[in-house]
């Protein structure tokens, strides 16, 4: 027994010796992880690892010693949590001693100390001893970057857990000498350390303790005052980080200087980033002062600090020429945004001043600036909630603010109106501030602004938005003062239409509809607006006046917006679905059933565009239904289409039968688009009655030679259902049916294009869910690229496969869409596309390029970038392709490559310059723009490569400077400007 146990113990130890040898002498990396794993699993202890390393640690060759220690350090980095206190003490003594060793050994020693600095079991005092040893034995400042980084990590780790007492100043000195970091990683840096990594690590150390404050704050002030942009930014960000751990005590002596520096930067800066960081730092400073707990007798620094800010900023707010008003307001708002107390202090001082200024200035522009500032302060109020109504700082100013706001709303200046609307929204959001009288007046203004002329578009949109957000808060005010007016307008519209004096009033029609949908943000309002809109749609049907397509679409769009707003609330959602879907279906069914006399609306309702908009309303009203309610609805809708069961429609006395799948009229078949919108938006777990029959009917219709609209709708509907169907025998049967149908259709005859459409949609449905059959179908599609008849359509089909649909197969409609499907499609199919391109005869090559372009175009650039070099020769060839889709996609692939891989690209400079210049004269504006952006990106190539082309390029780029399109000229200007600077002094 004992012998067996001993043997078992020896066996892993034997393995350990082998692993150590492989790592130290054999220079293999793998064994380190193996040893660490074994220690973790308990096969042997750290002590045994040290013993096994024994001879290598004493080897006379420093490289061997380094390797030995490296192994130990790597093991410790993974196993430090297992160490006992006693082991930690021994290991630290060992490592401290090793700091005296050869410089080659030091990096591994530091790694080991970093591992130990992470130990929870580190006994008190040892951190001090380690730091002492490091500072004594190693000249940290002259270590390579990686090792300095290690030292900082050690310090950070210690600081996280223990006191650094005796070393504050030394630690500060040794770390702060690198501040601010000014380091650019060398090209091909094997360590991959970025400037940002160093900045963040150093900042973490500097801002780790309030004890550094007395040394750090003067340094930060000095660096903010320097001329170097990066130093300013880094200092302000570090100050911001410090405020998280500092208190009043640390900041007290430096507040005046800090304020002076921040103020200067915000007042004078040329850089928006410095300004933003300055404001952020001021915000943190104020927050820090607001947070500190005071002793009873201490002075509250917050008050004096804020008074200082007010004193330096308030007079700028009152200067008649209004220079520096913005920076002052931004500073005040940054401070006020820090805490409720700061906000109170500043707002109560500034608001009276600004209110007075508003009245002093009479020009709309100046008033707008002042109101915008006031708005900034009002918005800050929303950050704090006040329990007591009387404590709310705004209540005292309410009347004055309201009168200002109404003046702004009534002003003819659009910009001032806009700020007035925003002010109204903000004041309305303050609980219990506005009285019912204020609200009635405000609603009156919003009504007027919602009907503004075309040139005040922005104001009208803002008024509609404001109506929407205020209606959720004050539904009664809007129900009683706005909805009745809009209903009246809609009614008079109808009678105008009937009388035939259209045009003048007709321009109001879409606005009224928009206002109705905008205000439908509260369930109680929807119950009034939805019936109005539906009634209006039915009324158009009855009226004698011809409604145009655009008018019907406008009503549907308005319904669509109401549907979107109802999605948030389950009750409204069901109300909308129950009310609108049967009504829309009834109108459509009625329009499609044969009747002696076709009214005009009936024809209008069956147009592609109108059906698509109606479909979109139905889809939006369905996606958010709960499965129970959806099941109720599907039990009505599917029998309607399969059996002509019209009993659930509100007006169901139609003269003919509704049989879209049997021998119904072509008009009836078109309504499959509405069926698609409904069934393809249902939650996945809702069971669809008679699914098998439905799928077969859809398949039949998809390849039937009726109008393309119906067959495409059927194919999409089939694909949408396929995508959601759970895997299993039934799905396989549906797929087999579909494949048979596609092959039969493609083989010959009149339905080839329908069969192709079906193939495309089925492929898409499967690609999205990573179904194994998708690769077969994609291959079939690729085969069609060389088909003389379907080739171009197949090429464009790749665009459909890669893009997001809006009506079916959407995530919102509960389709199964895997997030990486594009990347996967790229990896699976691009090699085959490239092979196909090379093998294809000349006349169909463009189809392959176009297919490929669609795939590349839709892929996120970061994913694409590493793959592009292998495609480079193809891309260069594609530049000569006459198809503008290919050109555009190729240019947009090459542009980032020029920026990221200038060395590789400079080998092809001659081709690139020639082709880009040719394309900059393309008839397509988008291609011209992309070509000029590439000309700009070319300047990133090494200058010596470019200089021979400079005169030629500058001459050639003079032409697009006179392009008829401004957006093209803009690109030409910046490209040419950069080319001028190449190799020129001062650039």
């Amino acid at each position: 027994m004992a012998a067996a146990a001993a043997l078992e113990a020896v066996a892993p130890l034997g393995a350990l010796w082998g692993l150590v040898q492989d790592f130290v002498m054999g220079q293999q990396e793998g064994p380190a992880d193996q040893v660490a794993a074994d220690v973790k699993s308990g096969s042997y202890t750290v002590l045994q690892v040290v013993e096994a390393l024994g001879s290598s640690l004493e080897n006379p060759e420093p490289r061997t010693r380094a390797r030995g220690i490296q192994l130990l350090s790597q093991v410790l980095l993974q196993c430090h949590s297992l160490l006992l206190e006693k082991e930690v003490v021994h290991l630290i003594l060992f490592y401290e001693n090793r700091l005296k060793d050869h410089h080659l050994v030091i990096p591994s020693v530091l790694q080991g100390l970093r591992a130990l600095s992470l130990c929870v079991a580190l006994p008190p005092g040892l951190a001090v001893s380690v730091l002492k040893a490091i500072f004594q034995e190693v000249h940290v400042q002259s270590l390579p970057q990686v090792d300095r980084h290690t030292v900082y990590s050690i310090i950070t780790n210690f600081m996280r857990t223990r006191e650094e007492g005796p070393f504050v100043e030394e630690l500060f000195e040794v770390t702060s000498c690198y501040f601010p970091i000014d380091f650019t990683p060398p090209p091909n840096d094997p360590h991959g350390i970025q400037r940002e990594d160093l900045i963040l690590s150093l900042r973490a150390v500097l801002a780790s303790t309030p004890r550094f404050a007395e040394f750090l704050l003067p340094l930060l002030i000095e660096k903010v005052d320097s001329e170097i942009l990066s130093a300013k930014l880094d200092s302000l960000q570090t100050l911001n980080a410090c405020c998280a751990v500092y208190g009043q005590k640390e900041l007290k002596d430096f507040l005046p200087s800090l304020w002076a520096s921040i103020r200067r930067e915000v007042f004078q800066t040329a850089s928006e980033r410095v300004e933003a960081e300055g404001l952020a730092a001021l915000n943190s400073l104020t927050a820090c002062l607001s947070r500190s707990v005071l002793r009873a007798d201490a002075e509250d620094l917050l008050d004096s600090f804020l008074s200082n800010i007010l004193q330096d900023c308030r007079h700028h707010l009152c200067e008649p020429d209004m220079k520096l008003v913005w920076p002052s307001a931004k500073l005040l708002q940054a401070a006020a945004g820090a805490s409720a107390r700061a906000c109170d202090h500043i707002t109560s001082n500034v608001l009276p001043l600004l209110l007075e200024q508003f009245h002093k200035h009479s020009q709309s522009n100046q008033r707008r600036t002042i109101l915008e500032m006031i708005l900034g302060f009002l918005k800050l109020q929303q950050k704090w909630s006040y329990e007591d109504k009387d404590e709310r700082p705004l209540s005292g100013f309410k009347d004055q603010l309201c009168s200002l706001m109404f003046m702004a709303l009534a002003d003819p200046n659009t910009q001032l109106q806009l700020v007035g609307i925003r002010t109204l929204t903000v004041l309305g959001a303050q609980p219990d501030l506005l009285s019912s009288g204020d609200l009635e007046l405000a609603v009156g203004h919003l009504y007027r602004l919602s009907f503004l002329e075309e040139d005040s578009q922005s104001c009208r949109v803002a008024a509609l938005e404001a109506s929407g957000s205020l209606a959720t808060l004050y539904p009664v005010a809007f129900s009683s003062h706005l909805v009745p007016k809009l209903a009246e307008d809609l009614c008079s519209e109808e009678s105008d239409l009937a009388r035939g004096d259209g045009p003048t009033r007709c321009s109001q029609h879409p606005r009224c509809l928009q206002a109705l949908s905008a205000v439908s943000t509260h369930p109680s309002i929807v119950k009034e607006t939805l019936p109005l809109l539906l009634q209006h749609l039915c009324q158009m049907n009855r009226g004698s006046m011809t409604p145009g397509t655009s008018e019907v679409i406008a009503v549907c769009q308005s319904l669509q917006q109401v549907a979107e707003k109802c999605q948030r609330d389950p009750e409204s959602c069901w109300y909308f679905h129950q009310t609108a879907v049967p009504c829309l279906l009834a109108l459509a069914v009625q329009a499609s059933t044969p009747e002696k006399e076709h009214s005009v609306l009936k024809k209008v309702l069956l147009e592609d565009e109108v059906l698509a908009t109606m479909a979109s309303v139905i889809a939006t009203a369905t996606t958010h239904l709960s499965p129970d309610l959806a099941a109720q609805s599907v039990a009505h809708v599917v029998p309607l289409f399969l059996d002509g069961n019209i009993s659930f429609l509100p007006e169901n006395s139609f003269s003919g039968r509704f049989q879209p799948f049997q021998d119904g009229s072509s008009g009836q078949r078109r309504l499959v688009a509405l069926l698609m919108a409904f069934v393809c938006s249902l939650p996945r777990n809702v069971e669809i009655p008679q699914l098998n029959r439905l799928m077969r009917e859809l398949l039949e219709l998809s390849c039937c030679q009726s109008c393309p609209f119906s067959s495409t709708a059927a194919a999409k509907c089939f694909a949408g259902l396929l995508n959601k169907h759970p895997a299993g025998q039934e799905l396989d049967e549906f797929l087999q049916l579909a494949v048979d149908k596609v092959e039969a259709g493609l083989s010959s005859g009149p339905c080839r294009s329908q069969a192709f459409t079906l193939l495309l949609w089925v492929t898409k449905a499967l690609v999205l869910r990573y179904h194994p059959l998708s690769s077969c179908l994609t291959e079939r599609l690729m085969g069609l690229l060389s088909d003389p008849e379907l080739g171009p359509a197949a090429a464009d089909g790749f665009s459909l496969l890669m893009s997001d649909c809006t009506d079916v197969l959407t995530r919102a409609g509960h389709a199964e869409v895997r997030i990486m499907f594009r990347q996967r499609f790229f990896t699976d199919n691009v090699p085959a596309l490239v092979r196909g391109f090379h093998a294809a005869p000349q006349d169909v090559k463009p189809n392959y390029l176009k297919g490929l372009s669609h795939v590349l175009n839709r892929l996120p650039k970061p994913v694409l970038l590493p793959e592009l070099p292998t495609l480079l020769s193809l891309l260069l060839e594609a530049l000569s392709c006459p198809d503008s889709v290919v050109q555009l996609s190729t240019l947009s692939c090459l542009q980032p490559l020029l920026l990221e891989a200038p060395q590789v690209m400079s080998l092809h400079v001659d081709t690139l310059v020639t082709k880009f210049l040719t394309l900059s004269a393309s008839p397509s504006m988008a291609v011209r723009i992309a070509a000029l952006q590439c000309m700009h990106a070319l300047t990133r190539l090494p200058t010596p490569v470019l200089l021979p082309y400079k005169p030629q390029v500058i001459r050639a780029l003079a032409k697009p400077l006179d392009d008829k399109k401004r957006l093209v000229r803009k690109e030409a200007v910046s490209a040419r400007g950069e080319w001028f600077l190449l190799g020129s002094p001062g650039s």
Binding site: A270, L961, D962, K970, V973, G986, S987
Partner: protein, 163 residues
């Protein structure tokens, strides 16, 4: 042609200038996105070319110093003429010629060759207005100035995109 001003000396002539707000990017209109509709070169387009030129002595743009303003740009696309008036920050600014030269070079590099351009000082805003205008209008002197490496360097710095 340019007097030696406070370049590099650390002492600024106007150390504390007024700063004006930068205008945002020009919003792209539907017409501009329509392939068929030609967009004529207008005052805003010219202003966009010159507003981001850096001032030779401040880390600010000519727009922020109000040296150039859109209202002081006159342009006629059909007649191929453009006139830009610029306003030095102080009446004795020795940088005036250099600023004018930068504007002129920027326009030369950015506008179609058909344009005749006139860059001058806003009347009544500079002590040596006449002399500066004369230098800027003289093609040969402008060309000669750009042969001067030092001047070209400063002009290029003014025209380089600020990071």
């Amino acid at each position: 042609m340019v007097g030696s001003g406070g370049m590099g000396g650390g002492l600024l002539e106007n150390a504390n200038p007024l700063i004006y707000e930068r205008s945002g990017d020009r919003p792209v209109t539907a017409g501009e996105e329509d392939e068929q509709v030609p967009d004529s070169i207008d005052a805003r387009e010219i202003f966009d070319l010159i507003r981001s030129i850096n001032d030779p002595e401040h880390p600010l743009t000519l727009e922020e110093l109000n040296v150039v303003e859109q209202v002081r740009v006159q342009v006629s696309d059909p007649e191929s003429t453009v006139a830009v008036a610029f306003t030095p920050t102080i009446p004795h600014c020795s940088m005036a010629t250099l600023i004018g030269l930068s504007i002129k070079v920027k326009l030369l590099r950015s506008l179609p060759q058909r344009f005749k351009m006139d860059v001058h000082i806003t009347p009544g805003t500079h002590a040596s207005e006449h002399a500066v205008n004369k230098q800027l209008a003289d093609k040969e002197r402008v060309a000669a100035a750009l042969e001067n490496t030092h001047l070209l360097e400063v002009v290029n710095q003014c025209l380089s995109a600020r990071s």
